[in-house]
């Protein structure tokens, strides 16, 4: 009787396999990261199918350029940058970067610490999807990807101050929506 032992490959092995254009290594890498990468793309591109299309194109670029990965820094970070670039390229292509939409301020500030346990990631994804595309993009780049305003301004070809104002407006909107959600949570807890 043969016993198959599934050796868990290290990331270095996967990368080496991908450099040699081995389909098995590409498949393994794709399976490992595609879920997270799709989530990233969907934060920029609302439509699931479109976001998946962006992710697929970005993965082809990753497999084609994987020999350019020098080994310095986090491999996942390197992949994420390609995903972000592809998403921004999609937004530029579709020219839906509306940057100036006024949003009403929240009447009261939500208690985020208290809310944290009750908030599902899907709820937060939904809140981000509600943001106008300009706010959403800047918020994603700054708050989640960790870009500076200078980098964002260069990427989006906007003024640095515009990036800052977009971020603060995005935060205002999210605060307002979180406050509303807090009330909903309080009501549902009160009822139960």
């Amino acid at each position: 009787m043969k016993v198959f032992i599934n050796k868990s490959k290290t990331e270095e092995d996967l990368i080496a396999g991908c450099i040699k254009q081995k389909a098995s290594a590409q498949r393994a890498l794709f399976d490992k990261y595609s879920g997270r990468m799709l989530s990233l793309c969907r934060r920029y591109v609302k439509d699931v199918l479109e976001a998946e299309g962006v992710m697929i194109t970005a993965f082809t670029k990753i497999f084609e350029r994987i020999d350019q990965y020098t080994g310095e820094g986090n491999f996942e970070g390197w992949m994420k940058r390609i995903m972000v670039n592809e998403s921004l390229q999609y937004l530029r292509k579709h020219k839906n970067m509306q940057l100036n939409i006024d949003i009403e301020e929240a009447h009261h500030l939500p208690n985020l610490d208290a809310m944290e346990d009750h908030l599902q990631t899907e709820d937060l994804m939904q809140l981000i999807a509600e943001l106008p595309v300009g706010y959403r993009t800047v918020f994603n780049l700054y708050a989640i990807e960790g870009f500076s305003h200078k980098e964002i301004a260069e990427q989006l070809k906007i003024n640095e101050n515009t990036s800052k104002s977009q971020l603060s407006r995005a935060r205002v909107y999210l605060q307002k929506r979180l406050a509303e959600m807090e009330q909903e949570i309080a009501i549902s807890h009160g009822n139960s």
């Binding site: 590409q26 794709f30 595609s34 998946e52 992710m55 082809t60 990631t121 989640i144 935060r171």
Partner: protein, 219 residues
């Protein structure tokens, strides 16, 4: 600060968030990669097919031109008709000496300058100054199609006589025109610069000398 807390909350919850991917997503990645590889080969295939087409079309045009050359049988001159065989070797040019009445007067005037002599005599007397022939050593018997004479008006004039120089040169790529066609065209183009009578006498001299030269070579 409260605002930073929002950033933190979203980063913490969403940074490592994962979503279900379609079952055929990896197949799509592979298809895109395959498509790109095929596209890379595309320009080479176009270049190869275009070059093959070019070679074929050049071959066709060349063959067509050759076939056309061999079909030239008759060439009409200003006042005469010269016939020669299909074989591209020039036979004795028969020049119609009949000249319309009006032109005859001009001919007479011109004949004062150029003595009307028999072709043989003319060549004996005027050969040296009438035509300077270059590369005679390379000149084979008969008019060789590879030796295309180029007719040029000599810059030196002798007593109102038109002197035409014959420059023989090997023509590697000028097979498209027969010698006499070329000569005739050149003479026609000269007609705009000189009077018809001068031109005609020059032409007669030229053909006579050419014929005589041919005879000499045969002897």
């Amino acid at each position: 600060m409260e605002t930073h807390k929002i950033d933190q909350l979203f980063k913490q919850k969403l940074d490592r968030h994962s979503e279900p991917v379609s079952a055929d997503a990896f197949a799509k990645v592979q298809a895109q990669m395959k498509g790109k590889k095929q596209k890379k080969g595309f320009p080479w295939m176009i270049a190869a097919s275009v070059s093959i087409l070019l070679v074929l079309s050049f071959g066709l045009v060349y063959n067509f031109n050759q076939a056309e050359e061999q079909n030239i049988a008759k060439i009409e001159l200003n006042n005469g008709l010269i016939s020669f065989s299909d074989k591209l070797t020039v036979q004795k040019p028969e020049i119609d000496e009949e000249i319309p009445a009006q032109e005859a007067v001009q001919k007479e005037k011109a004949s004062k300058a150029v003595q009307p002599t028999t072709p043989v005599k003319l060549v004996e007397e005027d050969y040296s100054r009438m035509a300077s022939i270059e590369k005679v050593s390379g000149f084979d018997a008969d008019f060789n199609i590879n030796l295309v004479p180029e007719l040029r008006l000599s810059p030196i004039k002798h007593e109102n006589k038109v002197i035409v120089e014959i420059h023989y040169a090997y023509a590697e790529t000028k097979k498209e025109e027969n010698i006499l066609v070329k000569s005739n065209n050149k003479l026609k183009s000269l007609a705009s610069e000189f009077s018809l009578a001068e031109l005609r006498s020059a032409k007669n001299e030229l053909f006579a000398s050419a014929f005589q030269f041919n005879k000499k070579e045969n002897n």
